[in-house]
Symmetry: C2
Subunit: 348 residues, 2 copies
């Protein structure tokens, strides 16, 4: 018998219907080990993100690790550049052309910022196998770009995300994340803010803090944790092995991250991404960051978090039409599978 | 420069960023013509939906076209059966076990109905190439099952959907649709109801009726139309070639469909599915039906419609995190491409 689960922080419904698949391992039984990345060289002549090819991208907006030398030259360890094919651009005024088409059709010019964060000079480095120091630079670069863009008064939200693997929408193999800054708060964030505030007003607490406390007490859905962060498969995971990373202390915006937490975040990201790659055989995945809108720090009811969604199953017509997900794995079993590194679980 | 478009009926945002792809044709330039369906025989021995294999499914709940003979025997033209691996089942009470896990985790048993509508006895018949009479039977079977299930007092919504092609989540090739009936109104429908009601209260009209009137007046996004139905690519299409079919007269629920409209619906579905298959080389797609919840007929602000979403592009981390879609095609160009059957468009 399946189970309908409901998430208090988002209002989301999930049908946990494990009879539709077999045990967690069966999802990857058919997956071929991806061609070893070592077969790809660390440098590709035609990759715009490889060292030495800096002129193939628009001029950089940030570089970390280049001790000397001019911008857009080799020597960097992280490089942030505008997306060459941006979905939005910082041109004109936000809201310009609004209602231009007239009638009930509302449009405005695509105002915003779209950047690419190149996470390593090495083309063939797996993002789940970055050294701790390099992962810290990745987090630092995201933080520094978010901080800089938060000063643009017309931007309201920054969506940081990562697509890994072609089936997850990545068009370039070289490890990179992206961010899109928008002049409005996206609907999914708006929905979470509203549900969380409702919960806060009823219960007096942050729904994410309450959830985390219960997850830590129960333990059965935990993947890993350290002093500052916890990683677990949520009770209402939409897709197999969806994993969250969340700060243990209440913080509504990613920009509240402090220097003491940064290495712990880099460390838990490395552990989780490495574990998923190892146990699920380098699955394609999407990663995204949810946090409070810009210039709204200290919200007592919202709590920033990272979401990693492997693409081992497909949302289809039912999910697209209803917004309800059918998860063919049981979160508790999947978490145990990750904790035990895919070895056959005995006892508990 | 891209454009941010907003839909009044759903609150949805879409970024139309055509520079990220080339013209509509380029999306399918890389698509290989799918192995001809004629290479597959019309009958497969191991397919549970093929004629003669009736015992491979749970007992049928409806069959059309079998003039004589017992249930679960050959001779049918449409057959509806419970899903063998149901996501939900009509067992116990809805809401049973609610809050069972305690704390803030809310669950109930997976109460509901999950059925499969086998659309033709022919395994290799393309759903875009059903004869008019057969397509009418498809519509009739959906209508009859929705009507029967609407009498279950504990069900609140029926999600009808269709997955075509493996990349769109179809696990069985034999043409079929599905329905899942739920004891709650799904979040996406709730959101549309709320936005539509807000619009209605402000403007005094149904946002779908208003949109349709403007689409008909403008014409540039129309795909085809007949006396009772219109098909167009919406102004806020999320993905390339997303196409809507909507009744010309206001109707909030699919169950308000009348006998005069039924052949016209079958006809426009055949035209649209056939055109998409022809022009886009048999793309994988999802189709779903949106309408008013059960037992709420005659809503003045909501309007049922069919949505067809070809899976030529992938929603990735940005879409998953924000709920905002980046459409790499321009709806106006895509509609023209469909109207002109993929031939090079000259003039307008």
């Amino acid at each position: 018998m399946s189970e309908l689960r409901r998430d208090l922080a988002s209002g989301r419904w999930v049908i946990v219907a494990a009879e539709r698949a077999d045990r967690p391992g069966s999802l990857i039984a058919g997956r071929q080990e991806k061609e070893s990345r070592e077969a790809t060289p660390p440098h590709m002549e035609n990759c715009p993100f490889c060292m030495g090819n800096e002129t193939m991208t628009p001029p950089e907006v940030l570089a970390l690790g280049r001790d000397s030398g001019l911008p857009d030259t080799p020597g960097w360890r992280i490089r942030v550049v505008p997306n060459k094919y941006p979905a939005v651009e910082l041109q004109g005024e936000p809201g310009a052309g609004e209602g231009a088409e007239g009638g009930i059709f509302r449009a405005m010019t695509g105002y915003g910022v779209h950047e690419v964060l190149v996470e390593t000079p090495e083309h063939n480095r797996h993002p789940g196998a970055l050294e701790q120091q390099q992962m810290e630079l990745v987090v630092e670069s995201i933080y520094r770009r978010c901080l800089a863009l938060s000063r643009e008064p017309n931007l309201q939200y920054i969506q940081v995300y990562r697509n890994h693997g072609r089936e997850a929408g990545a068009s370039i193999e070289h490890p990179h994340s992206q961010l899109i800054a928008l002049p409005f708060v996206p609907p999914l964030i708006k929905g979470e803010l509203q549900h969380s505030r409702d919960y806060y007003e009823e219960s007096g607490g942050c729904p994410y803090c309450h959830t985390l406390a219960e997850e830590l007490a129960y333990g059965g859905r935990m993947v890993t944790e350290n002093r500052f962060f916890s990683a677990y498969i949520p009770y209402v995971a939409r897709l197999p092995f969806e994993t969250w990373i969340i700060p243990n202390q209440h913080q509504s915006s990613f920009l509240e991250l402090n220097g003491g937490q940064l290495p712990a975040l880099a460390s838990i990201m490395g552990t989780v991404l490495g574990r998923l790659a190892e146990v699920l055989r380098d699955p394609p995945y999407n990663l995204y960051l949810h946090g409070a809108p810009l210039r709204s720090p200290g919200l007592p009811y919202y709590h920033w978090h990272l979401v990693i969604v492997p693409r081992l199953a497909t949302g289809a017509g039912f999910e697209m039409g209803s917004g309800v997900y059918i998860n063919i794995t049981v979160p508790e079993e999947s978490a145990r599978y990750l904790r035990e590194k895919g070895e056959i679980a005995v006892g508990i």
